[in-house]
Subunit: 457 residues, 2 copies
């Protein structure tokens, strides 16, 4: 066993060896090549094979249980749905049968409806039914993340009976960390940690070992909330229950790590004005499609904001120094707004709230803006004072007031807009930054130009 | 048991009840109030108590094992170090003894050196020694995250002997999901999943049940890398080994969820120009301190970039329309740069790489920029053409070329700068955005003004 963490990206050497096998038609030697590799590593290797035909050949040459886990570890943007479809209904169903029901449902959810139905028809009816149930839930909800595969025992069992039950059912359940305890009508009563069960006397009633679960979620709970609750209570899996409290399934921590990563990527990209449909590994066409609409919107908003400049042409032609001041003051406002936005959006994402409630953060940002704006305004006003000696004092006052006002407005808007969006049930990151930057451009330009007109001429 | 997820923030009612108990000096009734509450919830409740004296009173009134877990669940920015110090060495050491060694080390690491030594001296020497070992590792490394508390069995044991060993040691080890198997000189051979062990025949040798671990980390592995590896291989805990491959400890998934959250917050805030020392829950003084230096730097860079405008005053006074064009073209460049930055930084964070290696992404962003820049340039040039009929064609050309060039430069820089920073071993998010925006301002202003001077007059 190696003492080093394995490389996170499929090594070039393994890929070349694989392509060599494909080229020489010696794919029977494939199982030896992938040997004890982890499915995540095989998935990377497979995704690096350039042509889809070759990827399909490789997938077909893998043993069924390896091929299924490999598909489960591939990303949606690595065209795994196409591979599964190409395998055909019979071979595809054989792979799906090897997978946990949540992984199988995720894969099937990516297929075209027709292909999905053909593949479900090729599955044994019980498994097809379970997967159909899971497919009913929204992709980004607890129901969409959960697996129905779990180990549960009855409140009325003894420790020995429970262990016998686990022996029998446990082989099929991957990664069961906790044994759920259910009462009448499937009502979730709590859990018995596996270690407590082993340490108990065989005759002890399970009832005496039950510990309450710190949290449960409903099938329609948003995945972001699921991640927050599991992170908060350090849960390795969380039970999903219906309105009556009956156990429906569980969500394991590894799905939640994926969720946290996906939600974070979404937040960062949205904040930067990139549609969350842009895949990190996607090609340039995807990127143009996901970013251009945003940039066009931005062209309109920046153009509208800057158009106030056109109303003040006579002011600018008298003092072109203003053309230098405006973009600097607008830029500082924009940056202050971005700071306030990022802190507010991140605070909403991790569920941190200030003791005084949601709107206290707006007051704080205004206070921060008053201070930062004063410092920046004074520094920049001094520069202007020195640079334009003939009318330095009055230009200094214009700069100070314009900068100060813009920074306060930026902090206020940067905190208020995502907070209001969140209140309204919208994503706080979406379009916040275009609002804030348009506003700070507008305030910056208007303040400089109207103060200049009022005070200087 | 409630079927709803409990509220993530300490409820106002519980807080008022608590403050009422404090006010009436009836803290002996506290254990009944917190009852079966999860330590995370008690921690929130405690953090909401306004005065530090009252927080200390509440902490003292909690049973030792509850108080210790509550401290462990509090955040560093909720002044838990002050609370621990105020408890004094004896009471503090009693709390620390209840905690897992990694949690105890984290808490001690936040104390002043003098207080830390006093508290360590009050601990039994064996535990103090273990914690001192952990304190040697950097806070953001695998060593800083790991606990030495784990269950391991020898390769030479039978399944029955292993279970007996687990019965004996398992009571003390919190959340042991896997049983590590070690050979001579503590060499890690692999793991035995607890469920396999229960399902095995008692006489089966452990050796026959060993499964290799998909990954290990060294004590000085960066925590971000630990998170990536655990997420990749869906590990509930990962072994930490030394250079020789001997088992030193393990890191559990809950620490990794915290790491992923912390690293994400850091990335988002840095991208927005907020020092990662700013605590999301901190006050306005902290915020001013963490953001003002960045804004001052930004004032300098924006000022330097805009100062090129001062060199072209005669051009602007001849055509004030240019004062309108410049901020729009600079803004679009800035936004394009932010998009490329966000995608590149996020791609680095999640460890996704394009098949052609790190620098392929730069080529892709240039291509995206060529396309987006052409579209935006043509649209804006048409507007300029219509708006300034007397010299529309030539102004249109100025706008088209300036916008196009700026957008291409923005994509290039937005992808290149974080990639190079990463190559150099620096944080790709830090200061990237100030570089990119200064560059896009500069290119935008120079292109508009020099093209205007060359083509129009």
């Amino acid at each position: 066993m190696s003492t080093e963490a394995p490389p996170v990206v499929a090594s070039r050497a393994a890929l070349e060896e694989l392509l060599d096998l494909v080229a020489r038609g010696e794919l029977t030697r494939l199982p030896a090549l992938v040997g004890e590799m982890h499915p995540s590593d095989i998935a990377d290797l497979l995704a690096s094979v350039p042509s889809e035909d070759q990827r399909l050949e490789v997938l077909k040459a893998l043993p069924t249980e390896v091929a299924s886990e490999t598909l489960a570890e591939m990303e949606e943007d690595e065209d795994r749905a196409e591979l599964l479809t190409e395998l055909g209904a019979r071979r595809g169903a054989a792979l799906l049968q090897e997978l946990a029901d949540d992984d199988a449902a995720d894969l099937l959810g990516e297929l075209d409806p027709g292909d999905r139905d053909r593949m479900l028809a090729a599955l044994p009816s019980e498994e097809a039914g379970e997967i159909r149930e899971l497919l009913r839930y929204g992709e980004e909800t607890a129901g969409g993340l959960m697996t129905t595969s779990l180990v549960s025992v009855s409140t009325t069992a003894t420790a020995a009976e429970a262990i016998a039950e686990i022996r029998e059912k446990g082989r099929e359940v991957e990664e069961f960390y906790t044994v759920f305890v259910v009462g009448r009508r499937g009502l979730l009563e709590g859990t018995v940690p596996l270690d407590d069960l082993i340490l108990a006397d065989p005759g002890d009633p399970v009832q005496s070992l039950v510990v309450p679960v710190p949290a449960t979620v409903l099938p329609d709970t948003d995945q972001e909330e699921v991640g927050r609750v599991m992170g908060r209570y350090n849960l390795v899996n969380i039970p999903v229950v219906n309105d009556e409290g009956s156990l429906l399934g569980r969500i394991t921590f590894d799905d939640v790590i994926d969720v946290i990563e996906a939600e974070t990527t979404e937040d960062i990209l949205r904040l930067a004005g990139v549609s969350d449909e842009e895949e990190l590994k996607g090609g340039w066409v995807d990127s143009v499609r996901s970013r251009l609409p945003w940039l066009v919107l931005n062209l309109v908003t920046a153009g509208v904001a800057a158009s106030v400049i056109l109303k003040f042409e006579e002011v600018i032609s008298q003092l072109t120094f203003l053309a230098f001041l405006m973009p600097v003051i607008a830029a500082l406002g924009g940056n202050t707004g971005t700071q306030a936005l990022a802190v507010t959006i991140r605070r909403i994402a991790v569920g941190d709230e200030l003791p005084g409630g949601r709107f206290q953060v707006v007051g704080k940002e205004v206070l921060v803006g008053l201070l930062n704006g004063l410092v920046l305004g004074v520094v920049f006003a001094l520069f202007a004072y020195v640079y334009v000696p003939e009318d330095g004092l009055r230009i200094g006052v214009v700069v100070l007031l314009a900068m100060w006002a813009n920074i306060v407005v930026a902090g206020f808007a940067g905190a208020l807009i995502p907070t209001v969006l969140k209140r309204l049930g919208a994503d706080p990151a979406v379009a916040s930054s275009v609002f804030v930057h348009t506003l700070t451009d507008l305030v910056g330009f208007i303040m400089v130009l109207s103060l200049a007109r009022g005070l200087l001429f």
